[in-house]
Assembly symmetry: C2
Homo-oligomer: 193 residues x 2
């Protein structure tokens, strides 16, 4: 079993944006808690304030909310990405999002208090957060663009392109709610291809 914790990957992720000093590496190592979840576990519930952020080393998670009794996927997160309920985690307030796993998932867990400590003692962590957020920001802009003026088919194609490593691992119903199209429509689109 590859159930071994490697800070390698997460450090490499940080180093895409900042240089990691030895002391920061140390503090990170002390605070990052390695966890394994099995498929289908609910990691965060909307009823709670989000206290933890997860860096996915292996596996797949989704952020979703409930509308008219149905689960609507907001986005998917896979290897080398952080996942949390953004506003709930950053502002320590309630929000609508739940998080669960779509596969067995290995990740590092970082507590909000530990993150605050890191922000307060390592200015480069602020920079890291700003820059990595910028990356996500760009993806959001693209997504907003792709949602307007595109047919259901184009939406699905764009989805397969941006999520090409993981799109085949996700049940159809979750993809359709993510894209904002009916499950039946997505099924037909897939069939014709």
């Amino acid at each position: 079993m590859a159930n071994i914790e490697h800070t390698d990957e997460i450090f490499r992720h940080f180093e895409k944006y900042i240089r990691l000093s030895d002391s920061l590496k140390n503090e990170l190592t002390n605070r990052l808690v390695f966890k394994t979840f099995k498929k289908g576990e609910v990691i965060h519930k909307a009823a709670n304030i989000c206290k933890k952020s997860f860096f996915i080393q292996k596996g797949l998670m989704r952020t979703y909310f409930i509308k008219d009794g149905k689960e609507i996927t907001e986005y998917f997160s896979a290897e080398n990405e952080w996942i949390n309920s953004p506003r709930s985690f950053m502002q320590q307030q309630l929000d609508i999002y739940n998080i669960d796993t779509l596969e067995q998932t290995e990740c590092f867990c970082l507590n909000v208090n530990d993150l605050v400590f890191l922000f307060n003692h390592f200015p480069e962590m602020e920079r890291y957060a700003r820059l990595s957020m910028g990356t996500v920001f760009g993806h959001f802009l693209e997504r907003i663009t792709s949602m307007r003026f595109t047919t259901a088919k184009e939406k699905y194609q764009h989805f397969c392109e941006t999520y090409h490593d993981i799109y085949h691992r996700i049940p159809l119903g979750m993809v359709s709610s993510y894209l904002g199209i009916a499950q039946e429509t997505l099924s037909r689109i897939r069939a014709e291809k």
Copy 2:
């Protein structure tokens, strides 16, 4: 004419997120250049790398791109908001966005080099950027949610709510492209109300 520059507003904006030291205030004052644009001026063109960010003190701007020869509005920015071509400005690369003014607009202009200087010498500026970005991030999430599973009418209503201070100042065609609905449809929605 109220064509007077006040750092009051922009400082208050910063202070929603961080405490401004006197030395940072000084550096900001030295670097922020007050500018006035008249209605319809193109402030940034997609053909160029974005070198400047504008903090709007009074007025209204829009970020848009060209698709099939038509202008598609990505978003609007009004009083007490920054506007730039995000990826172009932060990563100094080309992107698709143009920016122009919808009204006579008074703003502070900050050069990318000056911002880099501030980031390098004032860690609290990194924090400011991270936190304020978080706010915009939240708006984006809401917008993405509002675009899926909503009728054209609901989209328009949501728009009027979130942009309630400025929605009546914006031409219908720009609103429709922002919402991703046909101009004719939006006209009919407005009429029935």
